[in-house]
Amino acid sequence: MFNNLIFIILFMLGFYALVMKTNLIKNVIGLNLMEAAVFFWVISFSDIGGEVSIHKLGEEVTKFNDPVPQALTLTGIVIGASTAALLLTLIMELNKFSGTIDRDQLEELND
């Protein structure tokens, strides 16, 4: 049950940073924190105390962990890294054109 609690705390921290912080880089950090929470939960959920799901030559392993959530998590990590890089690039360009990365100040610029 601890993994559920830690997942909720991490996810809510990330959501708070995404909603409340006005600095755009902190928003990206919040998004990544939410992603990390989901990955942590998927991996910890599928851990039943077995071995890593890799066969060993000449040795019979009776209890494996589930390989499917681990493969899915690998996919998710790569996608998360790509989206974070793209978001940070857009923020860099925004800073170059408007001189600020604060959401409130950007709204004032819009007025």
Partner: protein, 252 residues
């Protein structure tokens, strides 16, 4: 009579406080709902039935890959991995498009002589480890994505220790682009070979299968790993160099 155009600072502070309290209340409510949802969820059944059970039972016979996670990634769900590498390709293309400039990436002159010599001794071993992780993806933990990140780390360490012009002169962006495209084309070519030889896109190539546990086994999985490794390594290096190349434009 004048209408006040700006709100009072006290009112603004109060507004902010109210907003914060409201959001915190909503977050706590959502957290509570999530916690109750977890209490309602059934126990984990994944290994007793269905897909996971099938992969654990017959994954080794189907693919010849000792590492079942790699078997899932590059055999059962290889189409999904192709989409994943397309996402990396899209991210790299977008970043290069946004940050495209004709400047040379000079932002530092490097660290001291001792650090440079030490890294010069260590670099071949880091590269060897990266290639090991890539090529043994079907036998031990690792694979194309993980090894590719190690290869990209070499490029990043070069730019920190030797100054950012060094890596640019050694491996030009054209080389990296060629490596990335080559990796993607390797993946696609193996998929088309799967159509021609076995009748399905990205089907594992049976005639490449050798004795289980050797380096050249598991059909086309090692070759896909090599392609993905070069693609990821070159892609991440391109992203890094696009991001650092904005500040300076003087000669080197």
């Amino acid at each position: 009579m004048e209408i006040p155009t700006e709100t009072q600072p006290e009112v603004e502070i109060l507004n902010k406080l109210m907003k914060k309290t409201l959001i915190s209340g909503v977050l706590i409510g959502v957290a509570f709902a999530l916690y109750h949802n977890f209490a309602l969820m059934p126990e984990y059944q994944g290994l007793n039935e269905g897909l996971s059970n099938y992969i654990l039972k017959s994954g080794l016979n189907d693919t010849g890959s000792l590492n079942l996670i790699t078997a899932v990634l590059y055999d059962y769900r290889a189409f999904d991995s192709l989409g994943e590498s397309t996402v990396i390709f899209g991210a790299v293309s977008g970043i290069v498009l946004i940050l495209s400039r004709k400047m040379l990436p000079v932002s530092s002159k490097g660290l001291s002589f001792i650090v440079k010599r030490t890294l010069g001794i260590m670099t071949p071993f880091i590269a060897l480890f990266g290639f090991y992780v890539i090529t043994h993806g079907h036998l031990t933990p690792g694979g194309g994505f993980q090894g590719g990140v190690i290869l990209a780390a070499i490029s990043i360490i070069f730019s920190i220790v030797y100054g950012s012009a060094f890596d640019y002169r050694r491996y030009s962006p054209q080389t990296k682009t060629a490596l990335e495209t080559g990796g993607a084309l390797t993946f696609l070519g193996l998929g088309l070979a799967g159509i021609l030889m076995e009748g399905a896109f990205l089907h594992n190539l049976g005639f490449l299968t050798a004795e289980t546990g050797t380096l050249i086994s598991a059909g086309s999985i090692p070759y896909i790993n090599i392609g993905v490794g070069f693609k990821v390594g070159a892609g991440l290096a391109i992203i890094f160099y696009s991001m650092i190349q904005k500040t300076f434009e003087e000669d080197f």
